[in-house]
Symmetry: C2
Subunit: 461 residues, 2 copies
């Protein structure tokens, strides 16, 4: 397309209310220009992804990420950088393989699969068993224990692509990742294979957290995920009435001891009310595949960028602004708990906590988990955000890491809501790499976070 002639005079949205002053919109523009022209989040993300890589809680890579985070906060110009200790679980993947044999005289062939996080492995010995396919829990319930006993159950539940907001599809389907091993074990199954929680038109398997529910079964059987294409193929075998046998093997295990780890906190001291704190954060840990680029390297570098941009613009916030890289969001939230516990212990006064953990895509909204009066206060300024593509203030949405702040201190929460179309293509996969993050989309997320923080700092909440 060329179109430049007709576009030169493209109308710019001129939304405005009595609440939004022209000076506010000028400051919004300054913040945007600074970050879009001089932002360091993309460069920082490259280093995190390429020099540190994936960084599951408890791993040496996670420890390296803490060092990286501390240095990046210092380079951004934080007045104070400190680490906040937390003890985290360490789930270890090791070697794993899934082989399938189709038909009675078939040969075993390896398929691309990932064991789900927190899953028990097979203790070095392969599990070999016939595979039974069900599409959902309703179908599984119809099976008798005799039918299930000794089998590997393939839960072939499809991510619902019909939800426009993909987090709804994730919310709908993720129970098949989370709960199937205990449900299947209760009827005597020896393993579970799932279709990944994936919107991807590809074959990347997605890992992610599962857990064992002692109330359902005290037997811990392993769980592995297939990418969509492999799941389609397996489904096809069943459609053709072919018997399928699987051989699962994995060293995966939860390490017996917790590991000392840290949140990384960078601060700009408030100029008028330093005791009041506004927090913005993402999580530093990732799953042990890919590079944790969208989940949630993006949120980390966006948060660090707030410090850099405020300093570069000479903004002296009234309140203290904290950028926090939370540890252990993926399988424990120990960092989030430690942050809230510290706030309780130190009787801190938190104005607002914001999380960015839905990918570094173009922002579209800000989720609000707070009182109606507080929501109204932010929504009154909504027109200021419109030129930056942010229009949705309707969702009740904070974030996992800041959840404890709400529960323990009733802190108002907000969550950045980027475009959700691509997130569940890559999240928790080997494809969640730096190359799949767009520099402008990433920076634009920081712009909106910085604008929100500036606004709440100026106007209160």
């Amino acid at each position: 397309m060329k179109r430049f002639l007709s576009l030169m005079g493209a109308a710019v949205m001129a939304a405005s209310t009595v609440f939004a002053q022209e000076s506010d919109s000028i400051m919004f523009r300054k913040i945007s220009t600074e970050i879009m022209m001089h932002g360091k989040s993309y460069d920082n993300l490259r280093v995190l992804c390429k020099d540190v890589g994936h960084r599951i809680s408890g791993s040496k890579e996670a420890a390296k990420a803490v060092e990286w985070g501390k240095q990046a906060m210092e380079a951004a110009g934080a007045d104070r950088v400190f680490l906040q200790a937390c003890d985290v679980p360490y789930w270890y993947r090791g070697k794993e393989s899934l082989m399938l044999k189709v038909g009675v005289r078939g040969q075993y062939r390896k398929v691309k699969a990932l064991t789900l996080g927190n899953s028990q492995g097979t203790d070095g010995k392969p599990i070999e068993a016939a595979v039974l396919m069900v599409r959902n829990f309703q179908e599984f319930e119809k099976l008798t224990p005799a039918q299930v006993k000794g089998k590997i159950i393939f839960f072939n539940y499809r991510f619902r692509q019909d939800f426009t907001f993909t987090f709804q599809g994730y919310g709908d389907g993720v129970v098949y990742r989370w709960a199937t091993p205990s449900v299947a074990a209760a009827k005597g199954a020896v393993g579970v294979i799932i279709r990944s929680m994936s919107t991807g038109a590809d074959d990347f398997p997605h890992t992610g957290g599962m857990h064992y529910m002692d109330s359902v079964s005290n037997i811990k059987i392993p769980e592995m995920a297939l990418g969509n294409y492999s799941a389609d193929t397996l489904e096809q075998y069943f459609a053709e009435g072919k018997p399928v046998t699987a051989k699962m093997q994995s060293d995966c295990r939860m390490m017996p001891d917790k590991v000392r780890s840290y949140n990384v906190v960078g601060e700009i001291k408030g100029s008028e009310m330093p005791e009041k704190i506004i927090t913005v954060g993402g999580h530093l840990d990732s799953w042990d595949v890919g590079e944790g680029a969208q989940d949630d390297g993006a949120g980390c570098v966006q948060s660090i960028e707030i410090i850099r941009a405020f300093k570069a613009l000479g903004i002296k916030p009234k309140c203290t602004i904290r950028a926090v890289l939370f540890m252990n969001e993926e399988n424990g939230t120990k960092g989030g708990e430690a942050y809230a516990d510290s706030a309780v212990k130190n009787r801190e006064n938190h104005v607002l906590a914001i999380e960015t953990d839905a990918g570094g895509f173009s922002p579209r909204g800000i989720g609000l988990e707070m009182s109606d009066a507080e929501k109204k206060k932010i929504r009154d300024y909504a027109p200021l955000f419109l030129p930056y593509g942010v229009y949705d203030f309707t969702r009740e949405e904070g974030g996992t890491d800041i959840g404890p702040m709400k529960r323990k201190l009733n802190v108002p929460l907000a969550g950045l809501l980027p475009d959700s179309q691509r997130y569940f293509d890559v999240h928790h996969t080997n494809n969640d790499v730096f190359e799949n993050v767009n520099h402008r989309e990433l920076k634009l997320g920081s712009v909106v976070l910085a604008q929100l923080i500036w606004l709440v700092d100026q106007k209160g909440l």
Copy 2:
């Protein structure tokens, strides 16, 4: 991120006005579900990109694309498919190279570059000359003809990344691609190098249309574009005061004869008012690099998808719905002119013409180039589009191919406005390939186009 617990109850936007009926919103949802679950646009795009590839007007690939388009329209279930002849220019690239020598005793090294579309080549003989850098026209104006004579001018104008809506940045800078050769030739320059019209954090050079302005100079000098990284490097040589010499060579030329080509039109006959026509289209030609995936394979397959989805849903539109794959958008608009000329000749009654030529990214808005009363009519239904992420109805925007319909018949125009962050990273480059189109984003564009067409068909305009 996991967050599924808090998200299960995520609030759904419940916007509504007196104009939007519940039955409308139910049909919007049906259209969305059909396309997101069963849409064929992504599969169609793969074939166009991989089996046909790039397809500049007049080339044999463009002819193959016409055949592909006809078959795809038929497969989509169009009541009638026909070709509409137009005679198009054929610009041929051939071999090209740009070499730079830095310093007096330097060696020539090849750099990645693309000649701009429509540009004259060097007739087989290399042009070798000292390079002068200017940042913009203002700097160039200060140079005397004596300084410019015999030189190659490097117009190092940067794409302004501070505009949130990247088409504004493109509109700002594209004159440096379009007009620099004539401007430079008027002072005796022998060639032009430009920094690409690119938002990319990469080194892909971008081609695209240029033209020679006889009123400025009747000498046609060649123009080549560098990717951002190469332009940064070249800029750095000048910052260090190093003399730079360039050797340009290219076979590029505009072929003397026009080539017979075609628009591809697929139609669903109107059930009540078949004489009234609603058009939706993208352009089938592309530049001769990459695969023309975002520009504008995406628009083509989105338009074809409207036919398929209406048929699959059993929608019998009152008006005739036409999907059009326009030929020669990139350097001539001959297809768009032919379509409008045919409409004039046949005294057709066009209700609305819609273009999708801004990439297959998540839709955000619908541009409206029509009377205020018509704009109001569509805007009254804006809340229906909000659950699909479409909120911006403020821009005056149709599209290049449908422009002649406005000029010749005063047909109201609309243009799909997707998220613009990534478009100018890839457009007109070797990186505009199928892999850089997301399946959900692409389909969501079709959803919104189908919704708009259904709405205008039902309610009139």
